[in-house]
Amino acid sequence: MTKYEAVIGLEVHVELMTERKITCYCKNEFGAEPNVNTCPICLGMPGALPMLNRQVLEFAIKAGLACHCEIAPYAQMERKNYFYPDLPKAYQITQGQHPLCIGGYLDIETRAGKKRVRLNRIHIEEDAGKLIHLEGEGTLVDLNRAGVPLIEIVTEPDLSSPEEVDAFLRKIRAMVQYTGVSDGRMDRGSMRCDVNLSIRPAGTEELGTRTEMKNLNSFNFVTKALEHEYQRQVEILESGGVIEQETRRFDSATGTSSSLRSKEDATDYRYFPDPDLVPILVSPEEVAAIRATIPRLPDVRIEEYVERWELPEYDANLLTNDIRIADFFEAAAVHTNYPKIAANLIIADLLPGLAEEGDVPLAPEQLSVLSDLLGTEEINSNTGRKVFKAMISSQDPIDPLAYVEEHQLKQINDPEILAGYVEEALAASAKAVKDYRRGKEAALRSIIGQVMRATSGRANPILTEEMIKDKIAALPEPE
């Protein structure tokens, strides 16, 4: 990405985990039998009237406050009119001119550095139902999801790479998880993303023509779709073509995209204020009461981790993306003298395999003890990772102290014991010794390796290296 830079804006939809739907009294739950959670209101029957669920407001305001938005003193629901079988009222209740949350921002950090991504707004709206197409049998409609509350988070076009978009989405997910308003799971569709992308010659200001890709439902697809669309637009411009403003569909299976509809075909949604729903008036007192229920957010925690535990900011970022991890790390860090070691273990071996939901599979006390063992050099780092992995995968809780004793994993730090192993290794490595003395540093590794093998990996590697070097230095000069 050199000659052209990408300009990216997002619309992120997040399902709110309220008990009931947005304008009726049906349960809001994932995975129920089709059409179980429906009533005349969400089925759009004539004369049925919506009532705005106050919990939806509360959740949306929580998310808005976590994203530094201003909460509008006057908001209004509007109707977005269009026909589709998953939308039984033929309009979606959403917000247009008067959204609930205005402005705001989220800070992200990538390898390229820190960035503040401005938000345009966060508004509330209802989800549509689901169509299930059966080959040769027609299409079935499941309206359990019709009326499930959503927030739509709209950014300014402040993002410029797939990596930034990924970091931003993870930040959004962190925010909705921290505030408890959603599980933020893309695999279940509780978080979905529309991306708008245009390109322009690097260093210029004027925006190019943008395209939109809708309903991307995994972090991976978002990245792939962006890379693909960037490349497609570059190729068009390079070959002297013109980019059309259009909505495109990204096929995650083939990694290609196709045009869905052009600007000319865009529906006129005929937005207007929903006369069934009165304006939303939220008092400053209500906002303050909601603010008081928000837990410490990632930005605050990152600052703390950097100051109190001297973690690199990048690591602090990784630890705070998931509130389960952040809480777990903090609980472990206060009980060890080596919080940095605890952080490294989490980043290297716990984060990559952690399931999207459920508890962290070990207790923070286990990690505290293990970190101390490592910090005091009772065990070496290889052993430490082995024990940590065992603790993560074991059904029964593993006490690291007992485990190390039982499997005789303690590091050999005693020079007298090590001396014997070093002697043996040197005696068996005449060629390596010769090579090393000729300046081949790598030869030393094989001698250390022999000691490690002989001690089942328990030798203190630093001490071993020093002793080998000393011994070789003490040998008589070769002929």
Partner: protein
């Protein structure tokens, strides 16, 4: 005493005194329907069996000496855009010709609490869009006072049933005049309550921001009694007013001494026939004789009231009727190959011409290019008109206006645009402002048909409207025009 001539209070007394049973009373009305409705066509659906069962239940309760609500055992009719659980509710449209709602409108729930006996569902203009009850899927309703004339609309079936004595009272809905206009044409009392006083839940919407349910009765006292029963806060209607409900009949015998009543003479001059203007002035004189003070008003810019109403209601119609799409319920064309066909053919075949016209207009004024010029402008005018009324209601207690402007039209008569505009000019003022309006018959008659006037008052002034209405009709609210 003849059941047919009794008012609701007398019926309630007679039931408790054992003069006749609720079943007997119901049988009387069912017989009247049998005898008269073929000629009048007020009913779309008659629910004889349910009615008799409900009446029998009331009789059992009466026998056991229970203290029953005022309307217990009294047979009523509901306009067929008011949903009734398990009973066909068509809104007189092909689109809903097979629709049996699994829920009841709030007002029907309230009348069931009263142990009311439902005789059936009454005719209306298709989806309540109209003022004549001629555009119904089930054919026009005729005016019982003169079978060659319209009953007014859109609640024409409800009005005709009460006027013919085929229901003791009825509910209609009023978006742009649909309770008051048929009340006037049929010589009845018709109330459009303050927006929010009665819940709209379960009423098939025309324009949600203006729809209201109101009673059609033969006397003011009857009307107040029914309004007492259906008014109240509904936590499931966001536009429902959360306030205490007074006894609306409390002022009926208080008279109008000292009340200030406003008249807009300009409008009487330009929009009303001479006979009808005379009737309004006669009503004003009657009020003055009874002690009221008549104040001349000169509101600004009310001329745009009807176009404003027409734009805003059409906008809401176009959106609100979108759900009648042939997918989930209602009429679906049998002629389709794909989704587009289902929508296009079902709606083309299912809606009548007036409904289509309003949907088209509504889509136009809401479209991105015209939204500001029409919809937003109309909203501003609506606010302006509301402010004008608030100002007028600082000078006077109530405003006296005509309900209709000319003699009741013959069935099938083509109305000029001018007539439509004039009639609707007076009827849309209350819906646009949300204020309550009461139509009462005067003692003037034109071509031997009754002439009505309407009173508009401040929000939630229904009791005061009945009070002043009594001075126009004479007596203390027990009188009828027939």
């Amino acid at each position: 005493m003849d059941m047919q001539k009794m008012n609701l209070t007398q019926m309630a007394k007679a039931l408790r005194a054992g003069e006749f049973s609720a079943v007997e009373l119901t049988r009387h009305y069912l017989a009247q329907i049998e005898a008269q409705d073929e000629a009048i066509n007020a009913y779309i659906t008659v629910t004889s069996d349910q009615a008799l069962a409900q009446a029998a239940q009331v009789d059992r309760a009466l026998m056991s000496g229970q203290d029953l609500p005022p309307l217990a055992g009294i047979p009523l009719a509901l306009k067929d855009n008011i949903c009734t659980e398990g009973i066909l509710t068509t809104a007189a449209s092909k689109m809903l010709s097979n629709f049996v709602p699994p829920y009841s409108a709030y007002v029907w729930l309230k009348l069931q609490e009263q142990m009311g006996v439902l005789l059936g569902k009454t005719n209306l203009d298709e989806l309540a869009l109209g003022t004549t009850t001629e555009s119904s899927l089930f054919g026009p309703t005729k005016n019982p006072l003169d079978l060659t004339r319209i009953p007014g609309g859109s609640s024409g079936g409800s009005a005709a049933a009460v006027a013919a004595g085929t229901a003791a009272y009825a509910l209609g809905t009023d978006t742009g005049g649909s309770v008051r206009l048929p009340a006037a044409h049929c010589g009845l009392v018709g109330m459009r309550p303050t927006y929010g006083l009665v819940s709209k839940r379960g009423v098939i919407p025309l324009a949600s921001s203006m729809d209201m349910v109101g009673p059609l009765t033969r006397s003011l006292a009857d009307n107040a009694l029914v309004l007492n029963a259906i008014a109240g806060h509904d936590a499931q209607d966001a536009t429902s007013a959360d306030r205490a409900i007074p006894d609306f009949s409390a002022g009926l015998n208080k008279g109008v001494n000292g009340l200030r009543i406003g008249l807009t003479l300009d409008h009487l001059e330009s929009k009303v026939t001479a006979d009808f203007k005379a009737a309004v002035l006669k009503a004003a004189a009657d009020l003055e004789t009874a002690g009221a003070k008549i104040v001349e008003l000169a509101p600004r810019q009310l001329e745009s009231a009807f176009p404003t109403y027409y734009l805003l209601s059409s906008a809401e119609v176009s959106s609100g009727l979108g759900r009648l799409d042939g997918i989930h319920y209602g009429y679906r064309s049998s002629d389709y190959e794909d989704l587009e066909d289902i929508y296009y053919n079902s709606r083309s075949e299912g809606f009548g011409p007036e409904v289509k016209r309003r949907i088209m207009l509504g889509n136009f004024v809401l479209s991105a290019d015209y939204y500001e010029a029409f919809y937003v402008k109309a909203q501003k005018v609506r606010t302006f008109i509301k402010n004008e009324f608030d100002k007028m209601l600082e000078q006077v207690d109530l405003i006296l206006l005509p309900t209709t402007t000319d003699v009741t039209p013959k069935l099938g008569a083509k109305k000029s645009k001018e007539d439509t505009r004039n009639v609707n000019f007076f009827s849309v003022l209350a819906p646009l402002t949300g204020l309550p309006a009461l139509s009462v018959p005067t003692d003037s008659r034109v071509e031997n048909l009754p002439v009505s006037v309407q009173l508009i008052g401040p929000a939630f002034s229904e009791a005061l409207l009945y009070q002043a209405g009594a001075a126009i009709m004479g007596g203390a609210g027990e009188e009828t025009a027939q």
